[in-house]
Subunit: 340 residues, 2 copies
DNA sequence: TATGGTAATGTTATCGATAACATTTTAATT
DNA sequence: AATTAAAATGTTATCGATAACATTACCATA
């Protein structure tokens, strides 16, 4: 590999002069600058980022850790983060924890050891607390995305899960539904808890009974066992008329299940969920959802983080951005008549 | 940040001894090892990856550059690459070029400057040639994914685009279609060219006329202007009975267009495409597609690359893996009767 | 022509780790 | 107790860059 010393030797200057040309610092005569530039071209010089960040103590790169790279919510979020980082001249590195604490802790290690300047992270859940504490202990600035973690104070971009869930359920109630089930993510994930609250609130406000057997806790990730949902569904004493899914992945699992059981949506059962399904479900925009502004999550998250990096020691108060969800009413909810 | 020198000082040993404990090299007495380990824990030591790779001249990390992070084909591919890399103890970093040469060249720069050990890359197209030449010039091993680039010899994992396209079109012909259009990716992308060949071959074999006006070249990426497709479609002298899309993103654009024009699939027009639409379209598996083994692209790509890294100087012949596509017949093709 | 200030360039130390070689301990053998 | 090999640890140089300080070159002014 070509180093600044190779350049220096060939251009008959010192390494420091080459460094100055590269970084446009200090005073350099036009003649030397041209000479050095020419040699750099000839030798195809590329600076060694590792060496540079070793001495500079910063990398100008940000790590984005998401929990599910196959979920359009997160990929869209990633696009937003990428655009924002690019605009500010930061390199963005991605990681995918797969909703898995072991993978998450691995990535935390990567983050620490590569000395990135900051981190955007969608935590796997409340048990991510020690991981985030580790980041704090090592003084790595981070912004949480999509999920709060009790015990951690930091900048954060959230969706209004409670409100979104409430509106979904209100919609179901307005269509005459009274037996409404919730298949949710793990209660160790803050957004799942809030969606449950929204669900309960809506039932209460609507004067609808909240039955325990209509609550089922699965996981938000795609690798979570769908068997549990089936057992739950098959064991119900009375079938609900509508199911709300805690996120898009769960909605998928539910619809698969209903399909296996020969039940049609919405004729036999209505389904709604949090999060839209992304462009590839657009062929037939069928599911009624609370769609989040995924792109904004990433874009604003990067902005918060870069702001934090810029001020560094000044301890301005933590920012908390809450993005509303859009209720998109489509065709997966049946209007029930009193007869139903 | 805590360094091995801090550890060394506190444990009353030399930095080298600490390094030996960390890397499990050389001979260390159990007593010192325990002592050093304890201090490392106390101080929350994390090795500095930049410093290490500076002296080791390797990073044990691989870069995966994909062209569309919102496309389930690539995200699934990424999952495969992630799993394979993880299994071999390599760190995987992602980048998203967005089918955009400018972003691609930026990432090439990142790749070179961070001195990753190797690269998995889905090139934006034939114009990526200079980018790949740069990698070659700098001796960075890489594996191409999904697309060949004329002028580049290297390990590669491809899908059987020609065969897949042929089978899609044969299926259309078998259903009585004779006016079959192809909306394809840019002809500067090898897979698009092969899909065109497969299309033409099938028409020929089926004794169906190949009309120029039934060929339209758009782009594979989601940011490509859909306006072009509309103009093309609206300007046709005779409407086709079926359209084949060069990939899933184009299929989406076509279906959107038909929807706007009030045409129903498959009643008014049949549609098929290359690549499946991912799990989020599974709610209603509607589109007939040639599905590729996306996960395998990533998984095998990493395996090829790591094999190459292991041998290093031995110049074994280039590997070329061609993965077949599965024809999934669903409901987006209408069976035409002679009357149609 | 000497003088001083600025422009241009160079030298040395440093970032945090490891390789290569050097030295000291330790324990076994005579 | 002397000898010696192996085990354990230490020293120094190095990776590729930049910061901080040092020096030289150059030009304008007195």
């Amino acid at each position: 590999m070509v180093t600044i010393y190779d350049i220096a030797a060939k251009a008959n200057v010192s390494a420091m002069t080459v460094s100055r040309v590269i970084n446009n610092t200090g005073k350099i005569s036009d003649k030397t600058r041209a000479k050095v530039r020419k040699v750099m071209e000839e030798l195809n010089y590329v600076p060694n980022h590792n060496a540079r960040s070793l001495v500079l103590q910063q990398t100008r790169s940000i790590f984005l850790l998401i929990t599910d790279i196959t979920n359009p919510f997160y990929t869209t979020l990633a696009r937003g983060a990428e655009d924002a980082a690019r605009k500010s001249g930061y390199r963005l590195l991605f990681g995918n924890s797969d909703e898995n604490l072991a993978k998450e802790v691995d990535y935390i290690q990567t983050i620490l050891t590569t000395r990135v300047d900051g981190v955007l992270i969608a935590p796997a859940g409340d048990p991510s607390l020690p991981h985030l504490d580790t980041l704090k202990k090592h003084n790595v600035p981070f912004v949480l995305l999509d999920r709060e973690v009790p015990g951690i104070e930091c900048d954060i971009v959230l969706g209004d899960s409670k409100d979104g869930a409430r509106r979904l359920v209100e919609h179901l109630i307005s269509q005459g539904h009274k037996r409404i089930a919730l298949v949710n993510g793990s209660s160790s994930v803050s957004s799942a808890r809030l969606r449950l609250q929204g669900y309960q609130e809506a039932l209460k406000l609507g004067g609808v009974e909240c039955r325990d057997e209509y609550l089922f806790e699965a996981g938000f990730g795609p690798s979570h066992d769908p068997h549990g949902i089936k057992c739950w569904f098959d064991g119900l004493s009375e079938q609900p008329t509508a199911i709300m899914a805690g996120n898009n992945v769960l909605a998928l699992a539910i619809i698969r299940l209903l399909h296996e059981r020969g039940l049609k949506v919405p004729d036999d059962l209505s389904v709604v969920c949090f999060d839209d399904l992304g462009p590839f479900a657009e062929i037939d925009p069928f599911l009624t959802v609370a769609a989040q502004q995924a792109y904004q999550f990433g874009y604003l998250g990067i902005q918060l983080l870069i702001g934090r990096l810029a001020e560094r020691e000044t301890a301005s108060p933590w920012n908390k951005i809450v993005l509303p969800a859009d209720l998109l009413i489509r065709r997966s909810v049946k209007r029930l008549t009193p007869a139903d």
